[in-house]
């Protein structure tokens, strides 16, 4: 039997050791901090650490390493570190403080995260995340982060993302902004102190690896076009997620994979690239001009009821004219126990199913109506319009501004959108990638969320990595430094610079006919169609062929105007899209090889009788860590090599999730 996956990848050695210390799970982190070598304070000044990214994961690490006395060089492509995409997070941040005495604990947060991730996360890392979570809140409060409070002056918590305890700290709908401003101010304080040097409007375009170690980056000054080499003793990538490979997502316009992808090309394994999270409550696509999708906070599902018409012919009607008995509250019908509060992956897939049946609402986009109603009329009756407004008014207003419809009068329309990527560069317990000296934090790594992330856990992870984990693990590596001086005559440096210069030159001289954006849009269509909410072997195989064709055309036929020596936004985008075009193929290969459904990865071939995701723990309880094998030529990738890291569940028993 020939298989669609044949020839697309080969199997390499398994990953045996993730470097977590032995012993009971609640002692491992203490043990590791003790064993990790210390760096004498006077030596710290001689050690340089590059940090790419100033989101929660990067700004927190930059500030902390600066305070410790290392020389930090910090990079972001926006005009200020405060604008990193973390700023957009709305809902909240989890921490096992148990302020509500509702039975929360480090162990329960650990358990919920592993279960929510559909048993595809590494136990040791997740436990540590839960363990340090409480310190994050202390740190942020001390920085002046204005979390929501109760009348007595204590911090308020809410329950979020389908868990049964209230452990989510929040600052209205702007938690990400407030946390990031806290980290940003801490970073600015170190810039003033001279420990951190900031490079805004700079983009990392290549990693420098010398003698097998990460020793620096090649960056382009986005204002002048200057190609610069920055040297360091260690490099940290905190460059965020790659959801924009789908073109339309809730990510910011500039979010990209370039930093991690260039590192992947230089030898860093890419972990679980196919695990992407599709968020159920976003404002639907309005037309072809759409440039991004806007998330509506998940909290709306606490009071809004989701429905579509029972009959296809009702879909064009005014929803207020459709009588109760002709409405299908499908989540309440299928999942009586959890109803509208089922986890994100399930809510998203069911919305797709009803729209595929032709029962979607709103404008026809492409070939179908892609929207479902989120209706508050029951809540208006139950608690009154005013009470609903007190909770959600800012969201209702935002919805009205974007769509022109008033949710107090007609139900909202929502549809799932790509939101978060659980995959990322593979890291060990120390957050070190397979390239020594290259560390990866935040959404850029693959680590803690398995196949599905719970709400309010990304902010927690970013800050855990940056404030508490990385600063303790990186010192073990830096203790062997400073490493020998390198300069532009070092062959690896010269080669990396040349590669960047050649790429820029190519884009500016190919003078084709199609814009970068048109390629990005087409790639997004392919990914959504063939590697979106539901994936099949044939669909993925077709997707791979289409991506290859598109990529070849891109390198021959893209049109980028202007010069290098100027602010050139098309040129910036060209590099990002070039890397997305390679990543897209790897995502599809990963999705094709994983013949099971788990979390956000739903393979139509692997479902239970009633259409739920069916895992195959006997075959797939592993992290897929992919090694790049191309020759290094741009636009060409070889068949990747799969290295499996077996997931061993010592403390939590594997179960099939059920929300019925």
């Amino acid at each position: 039997m020939t298989d669609l996956i044949d020839g697309l990848y080969s199997l390499g050695d398994p990953i045996q050791d993730t470097k977590a210390p032995a012993g009971p799970i609640d002692k491992k982190w203490t043990q590791r901090k003790f064993e990790a070598k210390l760096v004498n304070p006077t030596n710290r000044r001689k050690l340089t650490v590059i940090i790419v990214g100033t989101g929660l994961a990067g700004a927190s690490a930059g500030a902390t390493l600066g305070e410790a006395g290392y020389r930090v060089k910090s990079f972001c492509f926006q005009d200020s570190p405060r604008r990193a995409h973390s700023i957009a997070a709305q809902g909240g941040i989890n921490a096992a403080k148990n302020y509500k005495e509702d039975g929360d604990s480090t162990y329960r947060l650990f358990y919920d995260t592993v279960k929510g991730g559909d048993y595809r996360a590494r136990e040791t890392n997740v436990y540590r995340l839960a363990e340090v979570s409480a310190s994050i809140i202390d740190q942020c409060v001390a920085q002046g982060v204005p979390f929501a409070r109760e009348y007595g002056g204590l911090l308020d918590n809410r329950s979020f993302g389908g868990v049964q305890v209230s452990r989510t700290f929040y600052a209205r709908g702007q938690t990400g902004q407030q946390l990031l401003i806290g980290a940003y101010q801490a970073l600015e304080r170190q810039i003033a102190a001279g420990t951190v040097e900031m490079f805004s409007r700079h983009e990392m375009l290549e990693l420098v690896v010398v003698d097998g170690k990460a020793r620096g980056i090649i960056a382009r000054d986005l204002v002048t076009g200057e190609i610069q080499t920055h040297y360091a003793d260690a490099v940290v990538l905190a460059s965020g997620g790659y959801g924009n490979v789908f073109y339309l997502s809730t990510n910011a316009m500039g979010s990209n994979v370039t930093a991690t992808w260039r590192a992947h090309r230089k030898g860093a394994y890419f972990g679980n690239p196919c695990y992407t999270q599709i968020h159920p409550t976003c404002i639907p696509v309005a037309g072809e001009h759409q440039s991004k999708l806007t998330l509506m906070s998940e909290s709306l599902r606490n009071d809004g009821r989701i429905w579509v018409p029972k009959k296809v012919e009702d879909c064009e009607k005014n929803p207020n004219d459709i009588p109760e008995e002709d409405r299908d509250y499908y989540l309440e019908r299928i999942y009586p126990a959890f109803g509208n509060l089922v986890p994100r992956d399930i809510a998203s897939r069911q919305a797709k199913n009803v729209c595929d049946e032709g029962r979607g609402v709103g404008p026809v986009v492409g070939d179908k109506r892609r929207g479902v109603y989120l209706d508050f009329s029951e809540a208006f009756g139950r608690i009154g319009k005013e009470a609903v407004a007190a909770k959600y008014d800012n969201l209702f207003e935002m919805y009205k501004r974007i769509t022109g419809d008033d949710p107090y009068e007609v139900p909202m329309r929502i549809y799932p959108a790509v939101h978060y990527t659980m995959g990322g560069l593979w890291v060990d317990y120390d957050l070190q990638s397979t390239i020594p000296g290259l560390f990866v934090t935040g959404e850029a790594n693959f680590s803690d969320h398995g196949a599905n992330r719970l709400g309010a856990s990304a902010l927690m992870q970013g800050l855990a990595d940056g404030y508490f984990v990385l600063p303790n693990t990186i010192r073990d590596y830096l203790a062997a430094g400073p490493f020998p001086d390198i300069d532009e005559s070092t062959p690896e440096v010269r080669q990396a610079r040349q590669q960047v210069a050649d790429r820029v030159h190519h884009f500016l001289t190919v003078q084709g006919t199609r814009s970068v954006d048109s390629y990005h849009k087409e790639l997004g269509h392919i990914m959504w169609e063939h590697c979106g909410m539901e994936r099949t072997a044939e669909g993925l195989r077709t997707g791979i062929d289409k991506i290859r064709e598109l990529r070849a055309d891109f390198w021959r036929n893209v049109r980028v105007l202007g010069e290098n020596e100027q602010l050139n936004q098309s040129l910036e985008k060209a590099g990002r899209v070039a890397d997305f075009l390679e990543l897209g193929e790897l995502i599809c290969i990963d999705a094709l090889h994983r013949r099971e459904s788990c979390g956000g990865h739903f393979r139509a071939e692997s479902q239970t009788e009633d259409g739920e995701a069916l895992r195959h723990d006997d075959e797939y309880a592993y992290v897929a860590a992919w090694e790049f094998t191309g020759t290094g030529a741009e636009g060409q990738i070889g068949a990747p090599v799969l290295h499996k890291e077996d997931l061993v569940y010592e403390f939590i028993e594997l179960k099939q999730r059920s929300y019925k």
Binding site: D79, H85, A88, A142, Q143, G144, P146, R189, T403
Partner: protein, 247 residues
């Protein structure tokens, strides 16, 4: 709808700029203002003309990256960021001028893109609470009364977009400054550095070339986050106190 756009084009910081007229057709009312510019840019690229440079990132009204003077108003006619402005606000046949923020401390980088690094330097001067990672006490060790928590939050909503400066005839950044001084000054954690902070930040503000405040209120009117003008009163109050303490 069809519109006439007069857009500021400037090749670089030292180049001379000018308004260039473009016609755009078939603009959907559901588009955002920036999506309308995306459409224009795609067309320019197809015609072999360089696209217009403008900043944006989140396109959700929260990162503060976008910011255009639209027919003389910072962020245009709605109380929202440029990225949250939708074309249904305009009518067929409108003539719209689009310019970058105009203020000496925000030099033009290219077309509609400006350099707002001055804001970062003001924060560096003192817009923070000095607490090293790991040194924080337990979060519940100090309580914050509701009215202080609310006011701190309201001031902390500032997204650093610079609309206040662009709207002010004096290019004053007092609203930005006042927001930070109020945010940190309302909280118990912000007290130890309160008097030094206001002086240091104000000195940096003046050094960057931002102008003085004449209480015109244009800043607060233009602010997409509705930061109230009274944060400037708080700033002045703290400043007087700091002076009295000999800072």
């Amino acid at each position: 709808m069809n519109l006439t756009l007069k857009i500021w084009r400037q090749a670089g910081p030292d180049a001379k700029g000018e308004l260039v007229t473009y016609q755009v057709q078939d603009i959907s009312p559901d588009m955002s203002f920036l999506e309308m510019l995306d459409v224009l840019n795609e067309r320019l690229n197809d015609e072999g003309r360089e696209p217009i440079a403008f900043d944006s990132d989140c396109r959700e009204g929260i990162c503060g990256m976008c910011g255009l003077m639209i027919s003389g108003e910072a962020h245009g006619p709605e109380k929202a960021t440029t990225c949250q402005l939708h074309m249904r606000t305009f009518t067929d046949g409108d003539v719209i001028t689009v310019e970058p923020w105009r203020a000496d401390p925000f030099p033009v980088v290219r077309d509609l893109v400006v350099d707002r690094g001055a804001f970062d330097r003001i924060i560096q001067a003192g817009g923070f609470i000095s607490v090293n990672t790991g040194a924080a006490p337990e979060a519940h060790s100090s309580l914050v009364p509701m009215e202080h928590a609310m006011r701190a939050f309201q001031a902390a909503e500032c997204i650093g977009c610079g609309a206040c400066v662009a709207a002010c005839p004096n290019a004053s950044a007092m609203l930005f400054l006042g927001a930070k001084v109020t945010h940190l000054g309302e909280l118990p954690q912000g007290q130890p550095e309160r008097w030094g902070r206001v002086v240091a930040m104000l000195n940096q503000h003046d050094l960057e070339g931002f102008g003085g405040c004449q209480n015109l209120g244009e800043c607060s009117y233009a602010c997409p986050k509705g930061i109230p003008q009274d944060v400037i009163s708080t700033l002045n109050h703290d400043l007087r106190k700091a002076m009295a303490k000999g800072r």
